[in-house]
């Protein structure tokens, strides 16, 4: 199956900006489950410098700066993805040392006593790891309410745990904290999911959104992607951009502007089958 994804980001500044530096992680990488056939990035105004490279985790990164006064910044990314349906889980060539870094707590996946206790219900001693992780995904899906706007990037995980509310990022972080509290490696995956409108309703442009889920490393199986927001293993409808230890390693767009004013932001994502 093939997908065509259009991801548009627009910043509108209330005071003109004289200099901005940005780092994008929006071009999907190749994985065992997908091939990124093309990723075209259009930036307006035209950047003064632009550089593409791979980060430590192998994600594709684009850095650019705009060094003239501007009032608006738009970044359009158009990606063509071919999903590979054959193997479900394929052991990747990865050394134990590299995997072990995903077992450590990070600021965004800080583990409270409450989270540890929550994890213990799924990760019982002796239980099959995949079964435990699937159970964890199911419990998060059931116990937590998807509530856009309740959290921000900076909201601590303990608040999510207490209030039982959040969005896909929070659920992914929570699951990661739980897996790591059991001493197992888990990573954060950033990407997209195809949404399918109810029968008879035409899909609107831009209704999709960035998505996030978690991946757990299971001995002899490798990385298994699970989506607690939708209670499914990440499959044919999930498109991966990249991964890291938590959101901060794979934030889609980070930028610093020189300006005294505030800004407005609009994002639209469109995921469509292309054959």
């Amino acid at each position: 199956m093939n997908y065509s994804i259009i991801h548009k980001t627009t910043y509108t500044y209330f005071e003109p900006v004289s200099l901005c530096h940005n780092v994008l992680r929006l071009a999907p990488r190749d994985t065992t489950r997908q091939v990124c056939k093309s990723a075209t990035v259009k930036i307006h105004p035209e950047p003064d410098t632009l550089r593409e490279y791979e980060d430590f985790f192998g994600n594709k990164v684009i850095y650019f700066s705009i060094e003239r006064e501007h009032g608006q910044l738009t970044v359009d990314v158009h990606s063509e993805i071919e999903k590979i349906a054959t193997v479900i889980y394929q052991q990747e060539e990865e050394e134990a040392g590299e995997i072990s870094q995903y077992t450590f707590e990070t600021p965004m996946t800080a583990c409270s006593e409450e989270i540890k206790a929550y994890a213990r219900v799924s990760f019982r001693p002796g239980r099959n790891v995949l079964e435990a992780a699937t159970d964890l995904m199911h419990r998060i899906y059931t116990d937590f309410t998807f509530t856009p706007g309740f959290t921000m990037v900076s909201t601590p995980l303990s608040v999510v745990m207490r209030e039982r509310k959040g969005v896909c990022q929070d659920f992914a972080h929570l699951a990661i904290a739980c897996v790591r509290s059991a001493g197992l490696p888990a990573r954060y995956v950033s990407g997209y999911i195809e949404t399918i409108p109810p029968p008879g309703v035409e899909k609107l442009v831009g209704v999709d959104a960035s998505h996030a889920w978690f991946s757990i490393n299971i001995p002899r199986m490798g990385w298994v992607d699970l989506d607690p927001t939708n209670n499914v293993p990440a499959g044919d409808q999930h498109i991966t951009i990249g991964w890291g230890r938590d959101y901060s390693d794979i934030a889609p767009m980070k930028g610093i502007v020189l300006s005294s004013g505030s800004h407005g932001l609009s994002v639209s994502v469109d995921v469509r089958r292309s054959g």
Partner: protein, 819 residues
């Protein structure tokens, strides 16, 4: 007798014998006097070390023990070669960690030890750096055990501090106690600093010939800020803070009065995660957005490279021997202290079982405090808490054997006592290899027997003398080269320095203006001429509301001294003299390299004036007046000294521009709060007299007009007299000249906004009908025309600093977008 001093035969080591011969020849009394000289010299040179979290910690004076730490010519070659080897080794480890990671892939280093260390910055992985070495500077803390062996206690690889203190120590020693060097061949420090200068030139991108090298400091509240500014002037590198630099076109630029200038090499004193808010710590105010991208592009070199703190990890110690075998096929020449990294099960068990006999270290260094704990100092309960902590996160801890550190003689309160000592050495990369300082910085424990030595927890420094003939040149110990190259005259002043010089000028006048007016008011009160309108004017002038102008003023009128003392000494009252003095002091410290030793002395006596405890008695009132007299003298002395000690035209212009702006605004305010209201003739007379007194213009008035004080003439003298250096016309004139001398940022003959403002102010002042100003508007009980003029002048003149700031200082707010 201290065992360290004795040789194998039980007699004093010959070098100690020579040293103590010179020492006893001076005699105890002379030594005590020299010791005082030493303290005075260090204080006057402004040598300080700031302590975090201690309110009195800012600018703590530097302590130097006059008995040095001696390293004999038999010991030094082995130490030096061991240090050189270790620097090479750590450099290879650094390259490998951010490059191929063969040490991890081949199982020589455990992945967790690196990946779990806060200093491992994934953003820096794969960045290709030019040059032979990645590790440009390296410092090791060494200890000598009682059996005479040398051990490495700490490795410092991020932004090693102390070389400047070492140089200052040596300079002070040669100046104050030259006799002690007699008969000892003490190696010089200057070869190290030459190597440092060369080494930094060598790493300039694209082998540029005259690279611009800057020292990046977190600012004046940093613990070792003294050293940053000292090295900056000694080495001739511009001292900058993060917001002085900007990344454009993947290059780093220095903001200066004349525009942007390219920076080639950054000597970094900012911790690495603070260096770039775009990719590292997002809320850092100390860094430069986009710096890592400039590094990736190869357009700037940083010493040490961002990410090098990954080597400041005591957990590496147990692996160094096998890494040395693997990389160099050599054994470590200086052994590391036996250490056990708890990330391995056997080692964890050992550490838990032997905790009371070990030193516990965290693999991550705590930058604001000590990261080591002596197991022996822990109570039973604390021990079990530590065990719990280690068990829940074993890979974060290391247990280290306690070395029985040998003692060395120290002069403590006039007596020679023994203290444990750590010796910090400094190395820098050069084309041929590393160069080690033939000397170093020693620190001794604050109390006898203290095991953990750190500057943050108090401690005394020592000079380190390496005793061996200087290779290839004649030794003259009295002439340690300390000539300081001066920055070229063509260099434009960095914006940050410009801004603080400007503010130093403004606060100088603010302190002076307020002190003079406060003195005038106090004189009136002491003489029994307590004038309500004058007290109210003081509150308005100094902006110390409510005071004599707002709520509760009746009580204060009845007991004015309570309030007057507050306005003088209460630093928590915005607008008080002490408050303004502290602002003044802060601005001065931000540009501390611009002041001469004499200037510092004046500042120090000013500080002392403010430290007095003055009672509210008649005696106290007189003392307050006396204090004000002194302060006024000192500020005037400061102004005179700056004229002498500031060498560059541009610096002087900014400082004086700040003064003239402040003088104009203060004068306008003064006239508005005293002379625009209509009172009885007697009251008006008193107010007019106070204006003249506060501007030291009473004599001038009498000489010029030979008439009793009257409104029109006071205004003539204070507003319009072009020859009176206190008049507004005079200030506006100077401002016009200074503003014209500022560098042109825009090409061509476009009139700048500040020029328009000053011209308008000038015209307004010249076209005013002077007679009308002295005519009161009888219905409104005020001098309306005067007030209008003053208010319009204020609006025009007070807009100038904003324009200057936007044009030359450019401190726009940086906001972070995170989708």
């Amino acid at each position: 007798m201290i065992p360290e001093l004795l040789g194998e035969n039980g007699r004093l080591h010959p070098h100690w014998e020579t040293f103590f011969q010179s020492y006893s020849q001076l005699g105890d009394e002379e030594i005590a006097l020299r010791n005082e000289d030493m303290m005075r010299l260090l204080t006057e040179n402004g040598v300080t070390y700031n302590i975090y979290g201690d309110p009195s910690g800012l600018n703590r004076p530097w302590n130097l023990d006059i008995i040095p730490f001696l390293i004999s010519k038999h010991e030094w070659p082995a130490i030096e070669s061991g240090l050189l080897q270790r620097a090479e080794l750590l450099n290879l480890i650094l390259k490998d960690i951010y490059g191929e990671r063969r040490l991890i892939r081949n199982g020589i280093l455990p992945a967790e030890l690196i990946y779990n260390h806060a200093g491992f910055l994934r953003q820096c992985a794969g960045i290709h750096l030019p040059g032979k070495h990645h590790l440009i500077m390296y410092s090791a803390d060494l200890a000598r055990s009682r059996d005479g062996r040398i051990w490495v206690v700490n490795d410092r690889t991020q932004a090693p501090s102390g070389s400047g203190y070492a140089l200052e120590n040596r300079t002070a020693m040669t100046r104050v106690l030259p006799e002690l060097f007699n008969g000892l061949e003490v190696r010089h420090l200057s070869p190290y600093f030459n190597a440092l200068r060369n080494g930094l030139h060598e790493i300039a991108p694209h082998q540029r010939l005259n690279p611009r090298i800057v020292i990046l400091t977190p600012g004046s509240s940093n613990e070792t800020y003294f050293e940053h500014s000292y090295l900056s002037s000694y080495l001739g590198f511009t001292l900058v803070q993060g917001n002085d630099l900007v990344v454009k076109d993947s290059h780093v630029w220095l903001k200066t009065m004349g525009g942007l200038e390219r920076v080639d090499v950054i000597l970094r004193r900012v911790d690495d995660i603070y260096c770039d808010p775009l990719e590292l710590k997002e809320d850092s105010q100390l860094g430069i957005p986009g710096l890592l991208q400039a590094v990736r592009s190869g357009h700037v070199s940083i010493a040490n490279p961002i990410g090098s703190s990954v080597l400041e990890n005591p957990g590496l110690m147990p692996f160094l021997q096998s890494i040395a075998r693997w990389f160099l096929s050599e054994d470590l020449r200086i052994p590391t202290i036996a250490s056990w990294w708890c990330g391995q099960p056997k080692e964890l068990d050992y550490v838990l079982a032997h905790l009371p006999t070990l030193v516990i270290k965290k693999i991550n260094r705590n930058p604001t405090g000590t990261s080591s704990v002596d197991g022996a100092s822990l109570s039973h309960r604390e021990l079990s808490e530590w065990k719990q902590r280690i068990r829940s996160n074993p890979s974060l801890y290391v247990g280290q054997e306690k070395v029985d550190i040998s003692s060395t003689p120290s002069l403590i309160d006039g007596k020679i006592e023994s203290r444990k000592v750590l010796f910090r050495s400094f190395l820098v990369s050069n084309k041929e290899g590393y160069v080690a300082m033939t000397g170093g910085l020693c620190r001794t424990s604050s109390k006898e027997g203290n095991f953990i030595i750190s500057n943050q927890s108090g401690g005394i420094s020592k000079d380190a003398w390496i005793l061996s003939p200087e290779p290839g040149r004649v030794v003259n110990v009295l002439k340690e080269t300390t000539e300081r190259p001066v920055a070229g005259d063509n260099d434009m002043l960095p914006s940050h320095a410009a801004e603080n010089l400007f503010w130093t000028g403004r606060y100088t006048e603010r302190v002076l203006g307020n002190a003079r007016f406060l003195r005038t008011v106090m004189q009136f009160v002491v003489e029994g001429r307590t004038e309500r309108s004058l007290l109210t004017a003081l509150t308005k002038y100094s902006y110390t509301y409510p005071g004599f102008a707002g709520e509760g003023s009746e009580d204060r009128f009845a007991h004015p001294w309570v309030e007057l003392k507050e306005v003088l000494l209460n630093e928590k009252r915005t607008g008080s003299l002490k408050y303004n003095f502290l602002q003044f002091n802060r601005a001065i410290h931000e540009v501390r390299e611009h002041w001469s030793t004499d200037t510092w002395r004046v500042l120090r006596v000013m500080e002392e004036e403010f430290r007095q405890n003055i009672p509210l008695t008649h005696q106290g009132h007189i003392r307050m007046l006396h204090t004000l007299d002194n302060l006024i003298t000192f500020v005037v002395a400061f102004i005179g000294l700056t004229r002498e000690s500031i060498s560059r035209e541009q610096e002087w212009i900014l400082l004086d521009l700040g003064r003239k702006i402040e003088q104009s605004l203060l004068l306008i305010t003064m006239l508005r709060v005293t002379l625009t209201g209509r009172y009885s003739d007697q009251v008006e007379y008193n107010l007019q007299q106070s204006v003249l007194m506060s501007h030291e213009s009473l004599v001038n008035y009498r000489y010029k007009y030979r008439m009793p004080i009257n409104n029109e003439l006071v205004l003539d003298l204070m507003l319009f007299d072009p020859n009176n250096p206190r008049s507004l016309t005079y200030q506006v004139d100077r401002l016009k000249t200074y503003l014209h001398l500022l560098p042109r940022v825009h090409a061509g003959h476009v009139q700048t906004e500040y020029e328009r403002l000053i011209l308008e102010a000038d015209t307004l002042l010249q076209q005013t009908d002077r007679r009308e100003l002295a005519q009161a508007d009888e219905n409104l009980y005020e001098y309306r025309k005067l007030d209008d003029l003053l208010s319009r002048m204020y609006t025009l003149l007070s807009a100038i600093p904003d324009v200057i700031s936007k044009t030359y200082f450019k401190h726009e707010l940086t906001s972070i977008i995170d989708k």
